[in-house]
């Protein structure tokens, strides 16, 4: 059980049997084999004690990164069937992930359930997922422009002015409405999203998405309220839980654009389902 291979179709994901980590992405149709890792971590938000500027709804100002290592006894639950294979992972008590591979689809689907983010230590947290590959993207990555063309971004650089880097993480974050990708001469790694998130490539070969945030302080930029969404049942309130999906595909370099445009539309305009019931065989 050194390796666990999952996927009923062309795309297979390989997990380490010892640690339960994703280690490889294989597409037998396009002959892609790429080492991949996927993990979660969170940034502590700035409480404003040093220079009065706290993290808030407007301001992303991380104060250290903290990996979230799965500490559970069950590393993976793998469900296999004719249509879809699923990998269930309880990352910790407030992050759950299901990875799906469909028979007829050449991508992997990641469904994340995050929350309520614990706040009892008095520190705001901004949760991200990181996808690491061996792609030499040399500081370049591409993000959509409000769902339209993908625009080249270069880490720690703006083509219109000389950038002084004060925030090495936040200063390289961009809004992601459709997707983000990176490439080198051989390989292109694309991620599409089902909701607007933040994203970046903080190190070469890595993409990251910010999926949820819960903060303690107001950033004094006009909201006048900390970003601390709750949901209440009767009088009992708890932090918001988010449930969303993102989609990963790896192609030979230059071959991912069609999928990003067409599947991006399918994420944005999914099948509309309507239900009714009828008696016996009396249906048309």
């Amino acid at each position: 059980n050194d390796k666990i291979e999952v996927g009923p179709g062309n795309v297979k994901l390989v997990y380490s049997g010892n640690e339960g980590n994703l280690i490889q992405y294989i597409n037998s149709r396009s002959k892609v084999e790429q080492s991949v890792e996927q993990s979660y971590s969170y940034y502590y938000s700035d409480n404003g004690s040093a220079d009065l500027q706290a993290s808030g709804a407007y301001i992303f100002r991380p104060n250290g990164s903290h990996p979230i290592d799965p500490q559970q006894q069950v590393l993976l639950n793998v469900l296999r069937g004719p249509l879809v294979d699923e990998v269930h992972q309880r990352i910790n008590s407030w992050i759950y992930q299901v990875t799906r591979l469909y028979k007829g689809k050449d991508h992997a689907e990641f469904e994340f359930t995050i929350g309520p983010i614990p706040m009892d230590d008095g520190i705001g947290k901004e949760v991200v997922t990181q996808i690491k590959a061996t792609i030499q993207n040399k500081k370049k990555f591409y993000t959509d422009s409000s769902g339209r063309d993908f625009i080249e971004r270069i880490r720690d650089y703006r083509k219109d002015w000389k950038l002084e880097v004060n925030q090495p993480i936040a200063g390289n974050y961009y809004p992601i409405n459709l997707g983000i990708y990176m490439k080198d001469n051989d390989t292109e790694l694309s991620v599409l999203v089902d909701r607007s998130v933040g994203g970046s490539s903080i190190k070469d070969g890595e993409l990251e998405l910010m999926l949820h945030r819960r903060l303690h302080e107001d950033d004094s930029r006009g909201v006048a309220e900390a970003l601390n969404e709750t949901v209440c049942v009767f009088d009992e309130c708890t932090g918001l839980t988010v449930l969303g999906k993102y989609y990963l595909r790896i192609d030979p370099s230059g071959e991912g654009a069609k999928w990003r445009r067409s599947y991006g539309q399918e994420i944005y305009s999914p099948f509309l389902l309507a239900f009714t019931e009828q008696d016996g065989d009396n249906w048309a």
Partner: protein, 203 residues
């Protein structure tokens, strides 16, 4: 009759930069959400009436059919809350699922709906059996379903269904397809489940 006006109003308000970027106060965000929900609910009635009209051929006659089928949607399907799919199929009732494709190309996808009973079968509109698969609904999702359905809908807790029923569906460009879910003598294909343990933590 129902219109899409409330949805148009809600979408117009949601263009505000605070709604786009999430920089509104909580009670304003709640107001955006409430207006969108009201708009969606009203638009759902328009869609239901349209589907009923198409399904019962009232377009040909130009007159509404006196026996109008009522179609429902499941906006909380992502947390496995879908009252129409909780129909008791053992009483000769069939669950009819209309799949509408809003895009201009033919597409296929896997549909997932929550069901209580594993003895179910899926057929297309020609009566041919469609490939399907049962997946157990995990406790993490049941908790989410119970909490959020009560929080948002104020409904008393009903026991969560046991399974997702997944099946392949296809629909033509800007068109629809119909699938019928009914009880069967045998269970649908179950997923093979295997757990992998962390030997260090287990020690």
């Amino acid at each position: 009759g129902a219109t899409t006006d409330s949805l148009a109003d809600a979408l117009a308000l949601a263009q505000h930069h605070d709604a786009i970027s999430g920089t509104s106060k909580q009670h304003v965000a709640s107001d955006y959400a409430k207006r969108l929900s009201i708009g969606y609910k009203e638009a759902e009635e328009v869609v239901s009436a349209s589907f009923a009209c198409i399904a019962e051929s009232c377009l040909k006659t130009g007159r509404p059919n006196p026996v109008v089928t009522k179609f429902q949607q499941c906006p909380l399907l992502n947390i496995s809350y879908c009252p129409p799919s909780e129909v008791d199929l053992s009483t000769r009732k069939n669950l009819v699922v209309v799949v509408y494709n809003p895009l201009g190309w033919k597409r296929e996808d896997v549909i997932r709906i929550p069901v209580y009973n594993e003895k179910v079968t899926v057929k297309d509109s020609e009566g041919k059996e469609v490939e399907s698969q049962l997946l157990p609904i995990q406790d993490a999702y049941k908790t989410l379903r119970n909490y959020y359905s009560v929080a948002y809908l104020g409904k008393s807790k009903k026991e969560a269904p046991n399974y997702w029923l997944a099946f392949s569906a296809s629909a033509p460009p800007l068109g629809y397809n119909t699938y019928i879910i009914s009880s069967a003598k045998q269970s649908a294909v179950s997923s093979e489940i295997k757990s992998f343990y962390n030997s260090e933590t287990a020690k």
